[in-house]
Symmetry: C2
Subunit: 330 residues, 2 copies
């Protein structure tokens, strides 16, 4: 099959189109003919050398897929060849930047009927992340104010919608016009331009000085470090991107707020084989909400497989609005 | 009234027995005649200068009380003069190292009938802490392995019992013979002497390499920093004492485990007026469990009010086994 492989860790130039052996499905696997994939920051992080343990060259990135089942392992129940499915392939196996990928069937679901493969492939990783972060970690009852830091990004724009679907008030931060506009379209009640406004001051105003019950940081670094100031006593902070130079101080701010810090890394449960069915169940629920028109994904640009280097460069610059999708089969 | 007051921040010598104005109950308050109080690390931390904001000298420490209601504020329901009650007074008001203390009635409960005031006064702060940490933060179903770091301390020995009452397997760390013995008496399945054994190695053995679903760190500092290594993927770590020099690294270990870090500081909800009823409800449940003989508190030493300096010194040295109680009224 054709695959975009990584031959060594490094810049986007290490990505290389070549022939690669077709993957063989294990007993729990679906062999999926990849129609589309999508990009996530984890792609360039692994390309640069993250999660390097037990990985051997060449390998294939791409942790979103939508396509057609072509074969199933003998332990697989509920899927047959010909089914249209979507999933987030395991971070420690070969991904979907190729014509075929193997995915643990328990983590997959029938793709939303209302979407084509490009849009369906843009959902799994970011939606699983936002769902696990917001719905599985916090018991929302709709009375909460949720702050989404980086509301215009892949995870952020889905998180805004999920919080709104639970009835929460949503504040979002963004800076570029297009990102701010997307936050509003996704249902944010307030969008704060973090380049032009003192976010902490504004959050204080918006919450009568109490802070937010939930702060979901999709940006990381410095933003992680000051986010605890926006967390209400007994509140929750969720991080998908880690902290900066002042992480310890940040933690102490959470401590004096009696608060909880959730680290969300959606690839971990499947990596350790912890309850893989859970992600399949979430993607089924996501498909229901998408087909009902309650949830949508914003694709800001589509690349062909041959353009993956360019797509990586763009993702790496940050400030991607919504998702970058990857067309694999025309 | 007689009170042990703090006249300035500093060593135990700043504690001074003197006459102090009787407190006046607010609308939501109980005025309690203090029969007993107890010590907690927060006493010496405040005496040294913690939580100094809005505090003026002289003030009174003591954040556990058992005694008799002598007056009630006009908004108080459910309590009358003459009731025997126990509670954890607010960290930002005057405490119970005095003949009288005012406590928000919503945070108080009838004292366990089976205990005298000295034992009843040894329960509130540590039991509220352990209960909020273990029961309110984690949804235990009894399949979990819970590691209690510092199982022989005030919070630790209650935490072991609470985890056992939910059916969990409990591993505890301690070092001194008396502490290790107490962990066993409280129901720990395994007690690890952290001075003589490689705890991480032992936890790996005890959990088939998976780590624990819940790690409750009652020690802090270095112990906080290496505790994430004992947390299973998707697991929980709970801290009541903060981290050490490598808190950032510790957080990153939790991140790659998709784990949650709960900071538990039981004084915060009442400090901010967040759901004060909750602590009264917990103390009612605690009294039920105590009177049924399911839960107990270990008092290793009793001091008189006049001996508070000595009690502070002992608490400050660490390694207190169970609780130090304070007799106020004979």
């Amino acid at each position: 099959m054709r695959a975009l492989v990584v031959n060594e860790f490094g810049s986007p130039e290490v990505l290389c189109l070549r022939d690669f052996p077709d993957p063989t499905p294990g007993e729990q696997d679906l062999l999926i003919e990849v129609h589309a994939s999508a990009l996530n920051p984890i792609d360039f992080k692994i390309r640069r050398g993250a999660l390097a343990k037990n990985r051997s060259f060449p390998f294939v990135l791409g942790f979103d897929v939508s396509g057609i089942v072509r074969a199933v392992g003998k332990e697989v129940a509920g899927f047959s060849p010909g089914d249209a499915v979507y999933a987030s392939p395991s971070l420690v196996r070969n991904g979907a930047n190729a014509e075929f990928v193997c995915v643990d069937a328990r983590t997959a679901a029938p793709k939303p009927r209302s979407l084509d493969h490009l849009y369906a492939a843009s959902l799994p990783l970011v939606t699983l992340t936002a769902w696990e972060a917001i719905y599985d970690r916090v018991d929302l009852d709709g009375t909460e104010t949720v702050l989404v830091q980086g509301g215009g990004g892949g995870v952020g724009h889905v998180a805004i919608q999920l919080a709104r679907l639970r009835g929460c008030r949503v504040l979002a931060t963004a800076s570029r016009n297009e990102s701010m506009q997307l936050c509003l379209e996704m249902g944010a009640d307030v969008v704060i331009n973090y380049r032009e406004e003192d976010v902490i001051h504004r959050i204080n105003q918006e919450t009568n000085g109490y802070g937010c019950e939930v702060v979901f940081d999709c940006v990381g670094g410095d933003v992680f470090d000051w986010s605890p100031t926006c967390v209400r006593a007994n509140g929750h902070m969720i991080s998908i991107a880690g902290g900066g130079a002042n992480m310890s101080k940040a933690c102490n701010k959470l401590f004096v707020r009696n608060a909880t810090l959730h680290f969300e890394m959606m690839g971990v449960p499947t990596m350790y084989g912890v309850n893989p069915e859970k992600q399949g169940e979430i993607l089924r629920q996501v498909a229901v909400q998408v087909d009902l028109g309650h949830l949508r994904v914003h694709v800001s640009r589509v690349f062909d497989l041959e353009q993956l280097q360019e797509a990586h460069s763009l993702q790496e610059q940050g400030h991607v609005v919504g998702k970058l999708a990857l067309r694999v089969l025309n």
